[in-house]
Symmetry: C2
Subunit: 299 residues, 2 copies
């Protein structure tokens, strides 16, 4: 099935306890699409500047990722600079240069207006809503957001929540959006805003999935080396939606497996800077880690 | 099989966002023995003062918990006062009055010197070692400790580690003891000090189990209400060792199940102050929650 992602394609400068890398490929749509491309056809809607390295466009194409919706605009590419200390769960933003992203007002190409799966990565909820209105209602719409939009655009976010299927956020955001510190209750409150399901990302502690009547707890895969957690959440979303798109049937069992595949994709992503590790691994690496995940969680 | 626990029996004053309770029953040996008593025969070695309420002694006996090793000494019972804020994972100690506990030098009664399972709760590692020397080598010896002993009695702790089977600690303690921030590596370093296995407790995020060649990741059961996390770690240990003692065979499969039973016992314990919830629940409640745990983690 076809997957569409709307989000950012960026150049990141990242410092972690393991080194510093400048102007490396980043952005939510980048991580999402690379992860999803392991499973199914994915198209990007995003904008970059004239300075965006051609080799990355070539890379996307080689991976079978559709970039007809990736506009090259006059100006510079969106840049993010951040730092992680030993607590790799927390990103400290040093600088954000929106550049061409500041005028991003996505117009979806006609041929991209009929996706089966749509991922609205973390951008202004008004833009997310505008994208949703431009496409024929997909089978599954998932949406990410962040503390900034919850604070400054709550009304827009609530309007959007009423139209989507899966809301992804981290635990702090779930508490902020719901006003409830207990995550079981927070998730049910968010579901009462509209989405059929809520996924709460807890970084190195794994993922919680909630629907109206059930929940699923997935721990994170344990790693010997975590180099750079940037993009882990979007990689998770890409793996999850990719697996769901390929499996076609939205059963509880497939949803759970999709969450494990998402976690596994994210576990690879953080083992190196940028998307380096995602470019190295094969389907077999993925399946091996899926089997290992089963072995170390079964009782 | 027989279980022996050496630790504290205390009167706690606990303040959480949900209320304050004064002079309630607490202590590592209390939580451990109550949890273990759901599965097998357990004896306490500890000391209380003359002010220790008789009704608690009656309660232990009614639960089938052996208290011949629970000395009543001249003076007052050990008291701990603590506070939890909204982050229920972190206890803030307000006051510790060791009282009769300050002269605690456990002499194990002859009839208690042959336990199959021994739990050395968090006390001075020299005392833990002295207890271990007084008993015939049990089938399984597990041991808890804390940051204070790691800092001030590392040598004693290392001597002890060489003689035990399972080391239990939280993630911060595992990092401190090993000098390694990655938990996979930290656990293997601790195993290199002697124990066959390491269990890392992560509070609301669950438990990690490591042996030389394998590991097991158990998330925590999600709760709607967490009233008081005091004693969760010792309750976990009691449920785990209780289940292992009853199942007799130390297979990987039984160890994993014992960890889930430990987690479930702890999930009940934190639903009310002191041991209140542990006194309310039945074996059936336990089995129901075990089945629920399976359902919400299976994929």
């Amino acid at each position: 099935m076809s997957i569409l992602v709307i989000g950012s394609v960026a150049l990141d400068t990242v410092k972690t306890p393991f080194g510093k890398k400048e102007e490396i490929l980043g952005g939510s749509a980048t991580f999402f699409s690379l992860a999803a491309s392991f499973f199914d056809k994915v198209d990007i809607v995003a904008v970059v500047g004239e300075d965006f390295p051609k080799r990355y466009l070539t890379m996307f194409k080689k991976r079978g990722i559709g970039i007809d919706g990736l506009t090259v605009a006059k100006g510079k590419t969106f840049r993010w600079e951040g730092r992680y200390d030993y607590d790799l769960n927390t990103a400290h933003t040093i600088a954000t240069h929106l550049n061409v992203f500041s005028n991003f007002n996505p117009q979806i190409l006609k041929k991209l207006r009929n996706p089966d799966f749509l991922f609205l990565a973390n951008i202004d909820p008004d833009l997310q809503y505008s994208v949703l209105k431009q496409v024929k209602r997909p089978k599954v719409v998932a949406c990410d957001s962040m503390n900034y939009w919850i604070e400054t655009k709550r009304r827009s976010l609530e309007k959007l929540l009423d139209k989507i299927d899966i809301m992804l956020l981290n635990d702090a955001e779930a508490r902020q959006l719901s006003g409830e510190s207990n995550l079981l209750k927070a998730a049910q409150l968010i579901i009462s805003f509209g989405p059929k399901a809520v996924i709460i990302k807890r970084g190195e502690y794994g993922v919680l999935y909630f629907s109206k009547n059930t929940h699923f707890i997935a721990p994170a895969y344990l790693l010997e080396t975590v180099y750079d957690p940037t993009g882990a959440g979007d990689t998770f979303a890409g793996g999850m939606m990719g697996y769901l798109a390929r499996s076609r049937i939205l059963s509880e069992s497939n949803i759970r497996k999709s969450i494990i595949y998402g976690s596994i994709m994210a576990s690879f992503a953080v083992e190196d800077f940028s998307v380096n590790r995602l470019l190295e691994i094969s389907r077999k690496d993925l399946e091996d880690r899926f089997s290992a995940f089963r072995r170390i969680t079964r009782f």
